[in-house]
């Protein structure tokens, strides 16, 4: 694949696309945000004016080309404008997770040497003021929400609207500069820098060029026929590459509308009100929604409940096939139609999926039952596989070829090869430029020919040509007897049970596997309520014998299913315990994107792992926890360790 130096449609930067949209889609809504209970909207023409005013204000403030501008807040139009305004003045936007602790922010702002930050509110301002002494290069901060900040020293602190106002006032002073800076942007200039959350070690700054972002946006938009009429709800963290591609890359490429929720808590209501046509969520969101639907159906009247189960049974049988356009009998079709009127339609509306044309899930494996549930309702939910370094897209499932256990075929213009050890490599126009200030990591990830190591192990399925992912390549280990140890594979099977939130498998280099389990408080709590089991805390519920019984049942069922695959049969769980606290990013046990940090967990709960191996039946432990405001505390508990039945390994069937 030759890298084309010709830009897609002649637009070589996001600001250039903005100007195109402001002419072509001048009166079409570009952004909406619910505020004060009403959806406020901005057309593309409005958006261009807002961004221009901000960009002029930023030049006026002293932002120079090549400066890094941190953007810290939840999804709001102002922050999307900030990123495009930063690009317009030749600066590089660096979105940062807004729930990062101060020391995480200190690392990122220090590493990229950000001189400016555009932040949401007092909470973020306070965090940066706390670390400002250690950031020598830092100059100015711009905030959106004034609340609580009135009395702060405003020498280096500015209101967003004031910066825009100053920009408008100094229009004639700076417009020439702004135009010159915009004209300098080309396909190779940096579009954005995103820090990967990193399951190990410090975050790395992934530099993405305009080429990476625009080519990926173009290819993926064409792949799914996205047009200017799409509506999306932007609610996933702005620091995550997916949000950048959907809410900026694809939105600016196609001209569709980005809707921002009123607050994090109102997301479900806002989703219902907007009814997006293009939707993206990690499996967790789909799981939570399904759990809440099921819980509410349990509480519904008898008639409704029976109707729901009756038609869902039917949908399970034919819904997926109807969606894929496969032949289905006329009677079944008719019954599905009726079900759609009575159950599926209203349910989809309630969930906010009434208009979804294309839905994606990625980031983690999704439970096949959850996936099928949404598909059978007639929601075109698909899977994709990607990462920050690829500007999201590596593989995706085309319409009509959707399955729960694969991640689809290579995306347009993406080449994939699989190494001998099973690791997946790719090369594409979306391949990142470099890790900022980290040539060693860049070199070890991306070779001279542009092939990037994903760190994931997988294989192409015979026949369909779809990619299947097994696990993180580095997590795949060997048991003492030489069998393969693939923790994620087993953990995912466990997590597909609604009452299990998280599982961590241990056993690399050992003779057998053991597991930690986190229960899902909402699912188990509801179950407890219905069974008249009183509990005062997460800890108490997690230690309840009946809960342990039901988890044991799940573990044994998983063992059976794992045993069916001779290659992985060694990963069966011999002993397990239910943890007394939820694994939490604040305690460093998970990343901000909620992936378990295996090594840290193993180290922190070493006493528990040891106890699982030495055969003791209970253990008392004391664990340090961190509260939201950074204070430390500790909880102690006595945990019961249980043995799980292990299934005999199935002999390999000759004919597959």
């Amino acid at each position: 694949m030759a890298k084309s130096s010709q830009a897609a449609g002649g637009f070589v930067s996001i600001p250039a696309l903005l100007q195109r949209n402001a002419t072509q889609y001048a009166n079409k809504d570009a952004y909406r945000e619910k505020e004060f209970g009403i959806w406020q909207s901005w057309t593309w023409a409005d958006t261009e004016k807002e961004i221009e005013a901000l960009a002029l204000g930023m030049i006026n403030l002293g932002v120079a080309e090549g400066d890094f501008v941190a953007v810290i807040g939840r999804n709001r139009p102002y922050f999307y404008w900030s990123m495009v305004a930063a690009q317009s003045v030749g600066a590089i936007p660096v979105p940062v997770y807004n729930d990062s602790a101060a020391d995480e922010m200190e690392y990122i702002l220090g590493h990229c040497g950000a001189k400016y930050a555009i932040v949401e509110d007092q909470e973020q301002v306070d965090k940066i003021i706390d670390i400002q002494d250690k950031l020598h290069q830092f100059e100015h901060m711009i905030y959106i929400d004034q609340r609580g900040l009135r009395k702060y020293d405003h020498h280096q602190l500015h209101r967003f609207v004031d910066i825009q106002e100053q920009g408008r006032a100094s229009y004639y002073e700076w417009i020439e500069d702004l135009n010159a800076r915009r004209a300098k942007l080309n396909y190779d200039s940096t579009c954005v820098m995103l820090y990967t959350s990193g399951t190990t070690g410090k975050p790395k700054g992934v530099v993405l060029s305009n080429r990476n972002v625009i080519e990926s946006a173009k290819n993926s938009s064409e792949f799914d026929n996205l047009g200017a009429g799409e509506e999306i709800l932007a609610y996933l963290p702005m620091a995550w590459v997916g949000d950048f591609i959907f809410s900026i890359g694809q939105a600016y490429w196609t001209g569709f509308c980005v809707n921002c929720p009123e607050s994090a808590d109102t997301m479900m209501t806002d989703l219902r009100e907007i009814g997006p046509t293009y939707y993206f969520a990690p499996p967790r969101v789909f799981e939570t929604q399904l759990t809440s639907v099921m819980i509410r159906m349990e509480d519904a009247g008898k008639l409704k409940r029976r109707m729901f189960h009756h038609f869902m049974e039917h949908a399970k049988k034919v819904g997926g096939d109807i969606l894929d356009g496969k032949p289905v009998g006329a009677m079944d079709r008719l019954k599905y139609k009726l079900g759609d009127m009575l159950v599926f339609g209203p349910l989809k509306d309630t969930l906010g999926f009434g208009r979804v044309r294309v839905g994606y899930t990625a980031g983690e494996a999704i439970g096949p039952e959850i996936f099928e549930f949404y598909r059978s309702l007639g929601i075109n939910l698909k899977q994709l596989y990607g990462q920050t370094e690829a500007t999201v897209f590596i593989t995706a499932q085309p319409d009509g070829e959707v399955r729960a256990d694969t991640v689809g075929v290579p995306s347009p213009d993406v080449e994939i090869k699989i190494a001998d050890n099973g690791e997946i490599f790719y090369r594409s126009p979306g391949t990142f430029v470099e890790y900022y200030k980290n040539p060693e990591s860049t070199a070890s990830t991306k070779d001279a020919e542009g092939w990037v190591a994903t760190g994931d192990a997988g294989f192409f399925e015979e026949g369909s040509g779809h990619l299947r992912i097994i696990d993180r390549a580095k997590d795949v280990g060997k048991m003492a007897d030489g069998n393969m140890f693939a923790p994620k594979y087993v953990e995912n099977k466990l997590k597909f049970y609604p009452d299990i939130l998280e599982a961590v498998l241990f056993g690399n280099g050992k003779d057998r596997c053991v597991a930690f389990i986190n229960i899902d408080l909402s699912a188990v709590g509801n179950w407890a309520e219905r069974n008249n089991i009183a509990y005062a805390s997460y800890q108490e519920l997690a230690g309840h014998p009946k809960v342990l019984d039901s988890i044991q049942g799940h573990v044994e069922a998983v063992n059976k299913s794992v045993a069916e695959d001779p290659m992985l049969a060694g990963c069966q769980i011999h002993r397990f315990l239910v943890l007394h606290k939820e694994l939490d990013a604040d305690d460093g046990e998970m990343t901000r994107t909620r992936k378990v940090r295996r090594v840290i967990v193993a180290d922190k709960f070493k006493d528990l792992v040891d106890a699982l191996y030495d055969g003791s039946s209970t253990i008392s432990t004391n664990t340090e926890v961190t509260y939201e405001d950074g204070r430390k505390g500790s909880i102690s508990a006595t945990l019961e360790l249980r043995d799980a039945a292990v299934a005999p390994v199935a002999s390999k069937v000759a004919a597959e």
Partner: protein, 273 residues
């Protein structure tokens, strides 16, 4: 009026405290033969957070009820905005711009959060019953304007997600917040909070403290509050009145009060040796 302070000053954290807006002069309140409040005087200045503390049964709530007009004291005078206040019904006091929350939440359980907060705007609704029923012209404009104000408060107190939820389904901590929203919706010049943090956990207390401070900062609302949690009171308030057995035993800044021997004795008991 001679002892009323007319000058403003600026606090350490940069807030401006204005002149006296309300003054209690020698208030005595009796229920039959029981004296609930004996000869108490203190003032509330514009823009300040004024706390009334004291052990159980000290007469704090009675004092708040005198301010809100629910009790009429047998002796003493209440001065408000430079005028002596004649005995009034609570609704008349509310019309003067004094809003309150209650120790035991007093919301309409069956109504949504939004409707509950809207009731706080009653004072600002001028159109009559008939106009409201027809719902045209003035009534409609008024509702829109009031709704806008209410939405600002909902945003301020971060209760957007429960806007349409019936109050009866909310947990205790959120109900307290809704009650605060309703009081705030009245755009009061003095806001009386009767134990705003009672029964809350640490996190809810922190949230509530932040709201009280932000309210004072953002809207310049004068706040008089009763609270049991000493830590909270000392952190929040500009000046504190300490009551014990219906009498005032201390008055001053938190640090003055903290070092006042009578206050220490009342709270910690006196050693008899």
């Amino acid at each position: 009026m001679n002892d009323m302070s007319q000058d403003s000053y600026v606090t350490e954290d940069g807030r401006t405290i204005g002149p006296t807006v309300m003054e209690m002069k020698n208030i005595t309140l009796r229920f039959g033969g029981v004296k609930a409040i004996t000869d108490i005087s203190f003032d509330i200045r514009e823009g300040e957070i004024r706390a009334i503390i004291g052990p159980n049964g000290a007469g704090k709530s009675s004092m708040l009820n005198v301010i809100s007009g629910f009790y009429v004291p047998q002796e003493g005078e209440v001065w408000y905005k430079g005028k002596k206040r004649p005995p009034m019904k609570p609704y008349e006091v509310a019309q003067q711009g004094i809003a309150r929350t209650f120790q035991n939440i007093a919301l309409f359980e069956g109504m949504s959060v939004l409707d509950n907060v809207m009731t706080g705007r009653l004072r600002q609704m001028q159109s009559g019953l008939f106009a409201q029923a027809i719902w045209k012209g003035k009534a409609e404009r008024e509702e829109v304007a009031n709704r806008e104000q209410v939405e600002k408060i909902i945003d301020f107190l971060e209760i957007q997600a429960i806007r349409k939820t019936p109050v009866g389904r909310l947990p205790y901590g959120l109900k307290k917040r809704v009650e605060l929203a309703r009081a705030l919706a009245a755009e009061p010049s003095i806001l009386l909070l009767d134990e705003p943090m009672a029964g809350m956990n640490v996190e809810e207390k922190e949230d509530m403290s932040r709201f009280i401070l932000d309210m004072n900062d953002e809207f310049g609302t004068t706040i008089a509050l009763i609270e049991h949690d000493m830590g909270v009171v000392m952190d929040l308030s500009d000046r504190v009145v300490v009551m014990d057995y219906g009498k005032k035993i201390g008055d001053g800044t938190p640090s003055e009060v903290r070092n006042n021997q009578a206050v220490i004795d009342a709270y910690l008991g006196v050693a008899h040796d």
